[in-house]
Assembly symmetry: D2
């Protein structure tokens, strides 16, 4: 059982998410970073390659060279991870798929909905694996929540509240991480809605097991002069008639990465919060409240198989991320990984962003979400 | 300095809020319950009078007798507290004001907006004190929050999220407390929106110091067959352009009385939760987070004057309620009590309910909130 | 059912605990403050009487007058509450019992163990009711905890950890509240151990249902020059062999009133914290964790009968205190109140203080606790 | 900059801590697992090697072969990680040091104090790097706490309370992880005191920057028939006279891995809890409470350099562990890593265990802790 070989596209000097993907991919020793096109500037790509301690010959500066050189090696890359700003997602994925190389990509899938449709067509015609790193669905207790909902612990779902408050863009947005996110040319038409709203949307559908069919969106650019939204309120209707509320913001001073979800059904309520990810709270109609612990004895297989330590030994963001890579490794070996977000989630997410941006701009009220 | 004498209207056997008003009114020994029309059934009113240990002769069974008999006493009541279901609020207040007796009333002020307008006219023409027990604005740390916002701790307010989740009406609504609340004839056209949505609305305006000028309401009767709303989502715009979200629900299984508010401005964020009312969290733009404790050394006069115990000795719902009665006693003595909700809040609250119910029913989108 | 009439001894201007007793006593309207000897200075006693709004003629300045005058009234006091510094507890109780008046007293029962023995003899010979306000045993969830332990929820108790951290005496101790507490002439030989250690000790025995039979005490005066202990560590052995640890301190900066108890048995663990008194955490050996809510549907009669509001409406310190007065009123009416601390607790507490102080001073190691 | 090559001793099938060391060592890509003697059973060592995906030829079944074969390779191991039960620690370290191979070892350093002295002598004479994985000192906020204490944020330390509650050995101890821990032949004379008490002891000295000079130990085997302690209370005196309490237990049902430390000085208090490791609470004498967040803007270099993600992206146990390996890699490269526990901590820890076990057995009261 050799380790799978990963190439990285993006993740150059100063990148936050590149090292996160590297750590996540390698955590379970099923995958090894061996090559990359970390930057289109040769010097910066080389510098990044050194920081990752890979063979200097495999730190490329353009996609063509990456795929051409790797194709000729006996130890060629098995897949690429795309970790660039959004507007490079489609070109990178297109090149990879054209070279017959599977893709795992940071979210959102593309910068625009049109690109997402092109991507979906390419994935379909290539028949190659494609995965999207919606990190939060990798948390063991998120998977436990999904499993319990699916098993009927809440009865019919009636209400979902998903929130993703952040505050880091409340002031002037400076620095590499901030700048491209508020530039429509690089991020796409959605700001906050694309950057974190998509996570919240995916989480709501993932845990509830229900699709959103209608939305009412109210997006704002609260910081004066900001060209994209930084504060989002979206009302949701799910396919079974359940109501939902999605709140995402990047101007809520002091909020860090407060993604959280609450689901209520006829028989119970379930609450999970990303910043304390190792507990899940379950309320039942008879007035009982149970705290479910990561690593605990009460968990089902989805959670157990994606936990590395016993109860009380906190796992976090990197471990959740690593769970997606473990799923992806399974897919590459030909095994099922039904919980791994893929091209369908990619399309749904971009449709959500596009619909929300358009509906908000036109004050359209309730609009269907049609993928 | 004798104690003020209170008469109670409502609060008969099985009442939850009657005893709460009694405890709150008497806590600071400025007020004493001496009489009441606890029920229109003579036996039940007498039984309640016994449970309150008042003079049996002063447990009346109709409003006319109450006011007539009390008028003739040298130790007559100084005011009445109205603690009936909503549809009796106006008749009771009308009788009291006609008799020249000041009124403190449970919320919402009336069952309908038309009644609220009538009430406002009566209060104005009587020139008598009128107060509305929006309990949560009685918490010392809510008053501290208001004072800090007013002093500019957050800079210009940009966003307010106020939530009031409950779960006790998720199943069949049985029992005295539940039944009248879901009966439009007794509660008015608003269910959850009137019962707890008004609290959330008042709290948002109270702490922010800003008025809501526009709303978008989405109210639902989630439990099949329920004749009033039990789950409410309302988007808010404040007079300064700030955005807000108000969520109130009574079908969120396991939620108890989870009123909470978060305010975000240019310079900071402030969070208060009713179920842990003795702490306030303050975030500032430089990344600091401070926990402010009830009874602590950092508090201003609004909080200090309404705290009875040192830090670490939890005060709660009854003490917050008592703070409103202390304010009301001050008003009756001719002193100012600027933080006590009054007839203006009454009108705003009923306008909010009426506007939300109508706008939601007609799917009107954004509508002005005009009092 | 008339209200019982209370006289107060102590509680003059500047008192913290006097008003607390007054609020607690009157909260359930079974008791009314009507008289007092609030201070031995006539002016100050009168001033306090005014602040409590009692008949000025009944604000006395010495105990003899208090009992003599009250004896002659048809509406004489039914009992006294003693709320002075410790060294006045015995004289006040002695006078009351001699006058045939029942006593409820703040803790500790007396300043010294010898005084406690005298008090116990007086109570026994008088056959009058005597109660000691160990406030924390008045919390509904503390009573629930005791009931669950008694019912075997934890199996045989193996370990009890009770902590009472405070920080308010970490600096120079100034002000009325601080000064007498660190003066052995007024507080007795125990400082922190008598002031809050006794609460922790009583709570441990109350909830566990077990008596402490042996202790090892390490008391310190951490603040230079302090004549009494301000930081206490006491190891405990219970009658069934279970081990315990009692930590009490008044120099732990930032700790407010952090009394908390954890009990572990063969089958479960139970945790309660005074600063969040409305939840109780129950762990079971199969890995489950349940949160038990005040006012919740799962509670037994001890908790239910001492709760005034539904779940989610926080009750706190004053309500817990009021539960002791409700018990005391029951006793005065001839009804049982088995959970109310009395003279046996008084003797045990003072024995604990005396034994701990002596054993610590002599570095005696383990010593028996013999009442 | 090639990756350092790690050999592992122990960590065979069913091991908990072997995979933890592997993940931690490799997380920052400075180290790679390449070889191991995972078990003395050849088949099991091979099986483990496969699970780690290393070259099958480098999964050895005895230490002599491991060091002999590796010595002959051009890509030989740079160091070994010892992750066996305690009684194998010294033999493994002895063999490694004899072969000139640096050692990083799980704690406690050895099974007995005599072994620890032998180990210390071997390390000294070899002049090779030796590190001990006291995981919890690897958490960024623990390092921040240490730095703040050292910088005087609390003033002179007066009191330290360190607790390590667990509950997993409350019942019958079955399974690989439990069995060797309660077998004195494999774990040494200390049970709980060696397994987790040493972590608590090291943390107390690490954060306070003070050495313990005297202890009073009360260890118990609470579960009937258990041959080693499973519940420990140890009173501490620090070199500056400060008092301390160390509680460690493995029979507290429901406690998971609740290591926590509270330090109080003249000017402030500081609290950290392992199960919520990404916040630190700071109290100051003026009544303020600040929450310090991992990844936040207020942190010093010790915390910043050992954090991989922004605020709100939880890091946990594996990342803390990885910080020790990053330190160890620095040491191997000849750089300083002053916060990494080493042979001095090893000796202090074993002296603590030995002194506590002996003093408790003999009920010796206070005894000096002399390393």
């Amino acid at each position: 059982m050799r380790r799978l070989r990963m190439g990285m596209i993006g993740g150059g000097p100063g990148s936050f998410i590149g090292p996160v993907h590297r750590i996540a991919a390698e955590m379970d020793r099923e995958i090894e970073l061996v090559a990359g096109c970390f930057s289109s500037a040769a010097g910066r790509s080389r510098e990044a390659g050194e920081s990752y301690r890979i063979d200097p010959a495999r730190a490329y500066a353009d996609l063509d060279t990456l795929f051409a050189r790797e194709r000729d090696r006996s130890d060629a890359i098995d897949f690429v991870a795309i970790v660039t700003p959004n507007h490079h997602h489609l070109p990178a994925a297109r090149a990879a798929l054209a070279a017959g190389v599977p893709v795992i990509s940071d979210k959102p899938a593309t910068a625009t909905l049109a690109e997402a449709h092109e991507l979906a067509a390419l994935v379909a015609s290539s028949a190659l694996p494609y995965a999207l790193t919606h990190t939060y669905s990798g948390y063991p207790l998120v998977r436990e929540a999904r499993a319990r909902v699916a098993a009927g612990a809440l009865g019919t779902i009636r209400k979902v509240v998903v929130e993703y408050p952040q505050g880091w863009l409340a002031g002037a947005a400076t620095g590499k991480q901030a700048e491209w996110r508020i530039d429509p040319a690089r991020s796409g038409p959605g700001g906050c809605i694309g950057d974190i709203g998509t996570h919240a949307f995916q989480l709501a559908e993932f845990v509830s097991g229900l699709q959103v069919t209608e939305i009412l969106a109210d997006l704002a650019a609260v910081v004066p002069g900001r060209p994209v939204d930084d504060d989002c309120t979206v009302l949701l209707r799910f396919e079974n008639g359940a109501r939902g509320v999605l709140l995402a913001s990047q101007i809520e001073v002091g909020e860090m990465n407060g993604l959280r979800i609450r689901l209520y059904g006829e028989k119970g309520g379930l609450i999970w919060k990303q910043e304390t990810p190792n507990t899940l709270m379950l309320h039942t109609l008879d007035g009982r409240t149970e705290i479910i612990h990561a690593g605990g004895a009460q968990l089902g297989p989805d959670a157990v198989s994606r936990t590395r330590t016993p109860t009380g030994h906190p796992e976090g963001y990197l471990e959740a991320f690593a769970n997606l890579y473990r799923d992806f490794a399974a897919v590459l070996r030909g095994e099922p990984a039904p919980l791994l977000p893929g091209i369908a989630d990619a399309l749904r997410g971009m449709t959500f962003v596009d619909t929300a941006v358009t509906a908000s701009r036109t004050r359209a009220g309730w609009v269907p979400l049609t993928v």
